[in-house]
Symmetry: C2
Subunit: 123 residues, 2 copies
């Protein structure tokens, strides 16, 4: 069992400017099956429009963002919103406010590069 | 893709008095691999001391609780604390305040009875 807070997790490479990442619960905590990451996207920042073969389960923690969906449409989200991104769905998360847009993003271990040691830094 | 809020999810059977449960992201949303549940434990309530072969990834959302660990020790937690419970670790979550103790609890699909149609209601 491991009990910790977000800032017990050191910064991790996100691979993208303006996107800070922390692995809050992951392999370093013994969690080898599911990984919980915390992302903070700075003003003007976004994650790339991309897709991959694993899902995202997201809970928005702070700020205001837009989620780009597979049909190209955008939906605004804020704290308390949950987003499920299915495997292979094109998506992007973008900050649309003047302060950080923050969310937790849960993936199976195969979706977290530091857990698998392959692929680009941000998935 | 699915975007929703906690209270878009109807109450689900937790199997225990004083423990309310909602499946916020799960099979009904297309999430067949990982399930995100929201628990609200009323004053005086607790989940049973138990163990199972899948992990829990927990984030405390509100209130004050105590997490019972495998060695019998208790650790107090509150909003912003994260807990990883490894497979087969004995654990319990207990409300220690006069208002609801609330947390999200993420499991692989095999840990959510409504996703697997087996086992007791609360796992």
């Amino acid at each position: 069992m491991k009990i910790k807070q977000r800032d017990d997790a050191p910064p991790a490479a996100s691979g993208y400017a303006g996107v800070a990442k922390q692995i809050v619960l992951g392999p370093a905590d013994g969690s080898n099956e599911i990984v919980l990451r915390y992302f903070s996207v700075a003003q003007g920042g976004a994650t790339p429009r991309h897709s991959h073969d694993f899902p995202h389960l997201v809970k928005v923690e702070a700020g205001r963002g837009a989620v780009l969906g597979p049909d190209g449409g955008e939906t605004q989200v804020s704290a308390g919103d949950y987003v499920y991104v299915a495997p292979n769905e094109t998506h992007s998360f973008k900050n649309i406010a003047a302060y950080p847009f923050e969310f937790i993003c849960i993936v199976p271990a195969r979706g977290e590069p530091s857990a698998t040691d392959w692929g680009p830094a941000l998935r």
